[in-house]
Amino acid sequence: MTYRHARWLLAVLVPLALLTSACGDDDDGDAATGGGGACAEVSAPDDAPAITIGAQDFGESAILAEIYRQCLVAAGFDVTIQAVGGFRDLELAAFESGDINLAPEYAASMLEALNGQAGEATPDAVETTELLNGYLADIGLVALTPSDAVDTNALVVTEATSEELGITAISDLADHTDLVLGAPADCETNAFCLPGLQSVYDIDLSAGFIALEPAAVVPALDEEEIDIALLFSTDSRIVSNNYVLLDDDEGMLAADNVLPVLTTELAGVEGLAGLLDAISESLTTDGLTELNRRFDVDVEDADDIAASHLESAGLL
C-alpha cells in the first residue's frame, strides 16, 4: 500500500526532480571523485567543449545519462544533464538547437524515428547502427558502437491471463483480439506496436487499445483494467511481478541496443569516444534491468545507481 503510493508520488516528483537537477547541481560530481577507474585515466583536452547530456523522462534514460556524466566528469570534462521530456522529437530538436550534444539512445527506435517508421531496422545491432548512422550524418550526429544491452518494446500479460488463455507468444494473440492493450498513445503509430502487430503478425488490437501514461500501465495491468501491457524489456517489474513476456516469434522487434548518440564535433574530441565505448561495453540487458529495478522498486537515486555501476565495472 505505502509502496504503491510512494511510487505514484514518485511519478509526480521525478520529473520535477529531473527538472531541478538539470537546472543546476552540476557540481555534485563528488560521487565521481573517488576510486581511480578507467574513466579517470583519460584526461580531457583543455579546449574540450562543454558537454550537455539529454535525458528523457524515464528512469533508464536518467540512469544512463548519469553513468555518462559521472565517467566524463572523472575524466575532467565539463558535463551537465538536461531533461528533454519524453519524445524523441524534443531530443532531436535539442540536438539541433545545441542545447544538448550527447544522449543515450536506442538503435532501432531512433532509426525508425528518423526514417519515418519505414521498418528498416533489423534484429542485427551492427547493421541497424550502420543504417542509423546514415541518417544521423545528415544532421551532424553520430552513433557509437552499440552496447549489448537491448531495451525493446515488450508485450506482457499477467501469469493468470497467460495460463487461462494459453498465451505465451505474440502470435497466440491472433485468437484473442478482444483483449485490451494498454500503452502510451504513440503505440498507434509506433512501428514496434500496433502497426507492427498489424503488418508482421496480422493481429489487430486497435479495437481495445487504451492510451495511458507510462506510469499508469503497470497499475492498470495489476488491477486487470487492461489485459496486455506495453513495457520495456528491461523493466524489472516484468520479473518482480511475474508477468509473462510474450515471445516475439515472428520477429517484429528490432535491435534496440543502447548506444550513445553525439554530435560529430564531440565525437572528434580526444579520448571521449573511447570512454563512451568503455561504458557501452559495461552494459548488458540483465545489468540494465537490475539498474532499473533499483530505480523503480528500491527508489534509489539515479546518481547513486550510476556511481555503483561504474565502480563495479572498474570504470570509476
Partner: protein, 228 residues
C-alpha cells in the same frame, strides 16, 4: 500554417468523426464527464455555503479548505486518484478524472454561493424578520433569491474550468477531447492536437454561453434596459 491545414484535413474527414475513437464519441464523453463533475461539485458546495452564509459564520475557514482544490494541481489529483480508484475497483479513466474535476469545481461555487448569501444587506434580512419570517423562510425566500446571480456565476466559472480541464482524463485512459491532445502530442500529429485544442475551446465557449442564457432566464431581474 501547415498545422492548420492538417487540422482542417483531420476534422473534415468523416471517418475521424465516427467510431470508438471518433470526434463524436469523444465530444459526448467530454460533455458527460464535465456535466457530472459540475453537478457533483454543486451538490457538495452549495448546501454548506448557503448555510454558512445564512448564519454568517465559518466562511473564511470553509473557504480556505475548499480552496485546496484550487491550490493542488489537477494533474497531481488525477495521478493520486488513479491508484486508489484502481484499488477499489472504480477502474481507469472516468472516476480518477471526476475526483480532480470536482476538486477544481468546488472553490468558485462555494465562494460565490457563500458571498452571495453573506453579502446581502443586513437591513434586507432584518426587514424579512420584521415581516415575521423564520430562519429557513429567510434563507429560501430572501437570501437564496438575492444570492442567485452570484451563485450562478460561480457555477458558470466552475463549469468552464471543468470543461477545459477534463482533457487530463486522457492520461489515465478516459476518452474525451483530451485524447486528441494526448495522441497528437505523443504521435507528433499536429492535426489531432489542434482538433482537441480547438474543440475544447469551442466547448468551453459554448458552456459559457449556455450558462449566460440560463442566468438570464433564472434571474431576469438582473437584466435591465441599458445594462447588460
Amino acid at each position: 500554417m501547415s498545422a492548420w491545414t492538417e487540422f482542417v484535413d483531420y476534422v473534415t474527414l468523416a471517418d475521424n468523426w465516427w467510431g470508438r475513437r471518433g470526434i463524436a464519441v469523444r465530444i459526448e464523453d467530454h460533455v458527460r464527464i464535465s456535466a457530472f463533475a459540475t453537478v457533483v461539485a454543486a451538490a457538495i458546495a452549495i448546501p454548506p455555503a448557503l448555510w454558512l452564509g445564512h448564519v454568517r459564520r465559518g466562511g473564511a475557514i470553509a473557504g480556505a479548505v475548499v480552496n485546496i482544490g484550487r491550490a493542488v494541481p489537477s494533474f497531481a489529483i488525477v495521478a493520486l486518484a488513479l491508484p486508489i480508484s484502481l484499488r477499489y475497483g472504480f477502474g481507469l479513466g472516468f472516476w480518477p478524472t471526476v475526483v480532480a474535476l470536482v476538486a477544481l469545481g468546488l472553490p468558485p461555487i462555494f465562494t460565490n454561493a457563500y458571498a452571495g448569501v453573506s453579502g446581502i444587506d443586513p437591513a434586507v434580512v432584518d426587514a424579512a424578520r420584521g415581516m415575521g419570517m423564520r430562519g429557513p423562510e429567510v434563507l429560501w425566500r430572501v437570501e437564496v433569491p438575492n444570492a442567485l446571480p452570484l451563485l450562478l456565476a460561480g457555477l458558470r466559472i466552475s463549469a468552464v474550468q471543468i470543461v477545459a480541464t477534463a482533457t487530463l482524463g486522457a492520461y489515465v485512459g478516459f476518452g474525451g477531447l483530451g485524447a486528441f491532445i494526448n495522441e497528437g502530442f505523443r504521435q507528433q500529429d499536429d492535426g489531432k492536437l489542434l482538433t482537441g485544442a480547438v474543440l475544447v475551446a469551442v466547448l468551453a465557449i459554448a458552456t459559457e454561453f449556455l450558462f449566460g442564457v440560463g442566468q438570464r432566464l433564472l434571474t431576469p431581474w438582473t437584466i435591465r434596459k441599458g445594462h447588460s
